[in-house]
Amino acid sequence: MSLLTTTQLTKRFGGIVAVNQVDLDVGSGEICGLIGPNGSGKTTLVNVITGIYKPTDGEVAFEGRPIHNRTPHEICALGIGRTFQNIRLLLSLSVFDNVRLGGHIHTRSRLWDVLLLTGRLRREEKEVADRINEVLDFTGLRPYRDELTRNLPYGRRKVVEIARALMARPKLLILDEPAAGLNSSEKGSLMTLLSRVRDTGISILLIEHEMTMVEALSNRVFVLNYGKKISQGSFAEIQRDSAVVEAYLGTGGSHA
C-alpha cells in the first residue's frame, strides 16, 4: 500500500490553475522525485499536501486516510514532515531550539507541568534533549548545537531544516529543493544524508532541479509542467519521454 496518494488534485488561484488534476503516490521506504520547470506548480502541490492551501478539487490521502481537510499542524502530527524552498527557520533561536521545535508534536506535558516543573516535564525534557542530540549527531550538526541559526551559512541552515523535520519522526519527508544554493561538497553530503534517512525507513518526496541527485536517489520520478503531471516512472524512463524533454528544452515552439 502506498503511503501518500493524491487523486485528481487541483488548486486554482483565481483564474490560474496552479495544480491540475495531479495523481501521485509515494510508497513506504522509497524516495520519489518531483521535477518540473520553474513555475510548474511543484511547491503549490507540496503546500496543498501539507495543508497550507486547501485543494480546489481532488483528494489527498495519507496511509489510506483523507487529509486534505486537515490543518497543517494536524498533517504534521500524522507524520508528514517538510522543509521549505526559502528556508523558514527561527533565526533568532539556536540550532538546538530549532530542532527542538520539530519535537513539539510529541510533547505531552501541559501548562501546569511547565509552571510546576513536574516530574513528567523533567522526564520528557530529558528524553527530548537526548533525541535532539541523536538527530544532531545523525545530521552532523552537533558542533553547532548552541549556535544562533542566523549565524550559520546557507548550506548548514538547510541541514538544520532537515534535522528539524526529522525530529518530528515523520513517516514521509517532503523536501523542497534541498540542494538549491549548495556547493558540490555540500550536495555530496546532503545526498549521503538523504540516503541514510531513507535507510531508517522514512519515505522522501524530493523536489529538486539537481538532476544528478534525483537520478542517484529516486526510485521513481514525477514530472510536472503547467500544473499537470506529464510523466512518471524511473529516471531512465522519464529521460526518454518526449513530453519531458519538450517541457525542459522547449522544443516544438512552446516556451520555457
Binding site: T43, N47, I52, F84, N86
Partner: protein, 295 residues
Amino acid sequence: MGFEAILQILIQGLNMGLIYALAALGISLIWNATGLFNFAQGDLLTVGGYVMLSTFSHWALPYPFAFLFTCGVMGLAGYLLSQGYFFPMFSQGLHPDVIVIGTIALTVLVQNGILLLWGPHAQRFTTPLGDSPVHVGEVIVMPYYLWNIAVVVVLVALLQVFFKKSILGIAMRAVAQRPVTASLMGVRTDRLVALTFLLATGLAAVGGILIAPVIPLIPEMGGLVALKAFAAVLIGGLGSFAGALVGGAIVGVAEVVFATLVVSTYKDVFIFAILIAFLLVRPRGIFSAEISEKV
C-alpha cells in the same frame, strides 16, 4: 424623521469623516513607503493646527501665507524627524514593533510639548470664509465644511498626479513596493523615506489647519481624532488614498447616525465594534488587495 433632518445628519457625519480621512491619509502615506503605522499622525495634525494658530491668529499673517508657512514648517519637521529619528531606526534593522512604539512615545512628547509651548487652554481659529452658517432650505451648512471639502479634493488630486506622473512619486511607489529592488536601481531610500515623512507631516499641517475650525485645539486633540482615524484607515484599507477617504466617511457618518438613532454615549463603542467585526470579515479593508504570503 424628515428629509432635511437626514440630510443635516449626513452633512455633519461627512464633515467629521473628512477630518478622520485627513489623518488617515497621512497614516496610509507613511505605511506605503515604510511599512510603519504612525500612531503619532493625529498629534502631528495638532502641531500643524497650533503652528497655524501662531502664524495666522497671533502673528496675523494673511491666511494663504500662514497656510503655506505652516505646511513648510511642518514638512521640514517631518524631514528632520525622518532623517534624525526614524530612518536611523530603520537602517539599524530594529524590530518593526520597536519603531511603531517609537511613534507611540512620540505622541507623549508632542502632547506635552504643545502643553508647554502653547499652554493648556483650548483655542480656535477659523477660515477666511468666516463662521456664519449658510442656510439651504432647512439645512444648515457651515462655510468651513465647504472649504474643507474643496481643499481635500484639490489635495487628493495633487497627490494622485504626484504619485502617478512625477519621477519622484514613481520612485516613492517603487520604494514602497520593492525596497530592495528600488535601492539596487539606484534610488536613495533614505531620501525617499524622508520625503514621505515630509509629505505626511505637510499633509498633517493641512489637516490641522482644516480641523481647527471644527474641533478646537487642545494638546490632546490629535490623539482623540486619531482613534477614529485608525478605525477609518483600517476599514478603508491601509495604504489606499480612496480607502482613507471612504473609511473616514464611513466612520463619520456611522457615528452620527448611531448617535442620532440609537444612543449617543455608545457611539464610540459602535465604531470600534464595526471595526473589529469588519476586520474579521475582510481583514485588509475595502480598498486593499489580499496579499498572500509566499510559502
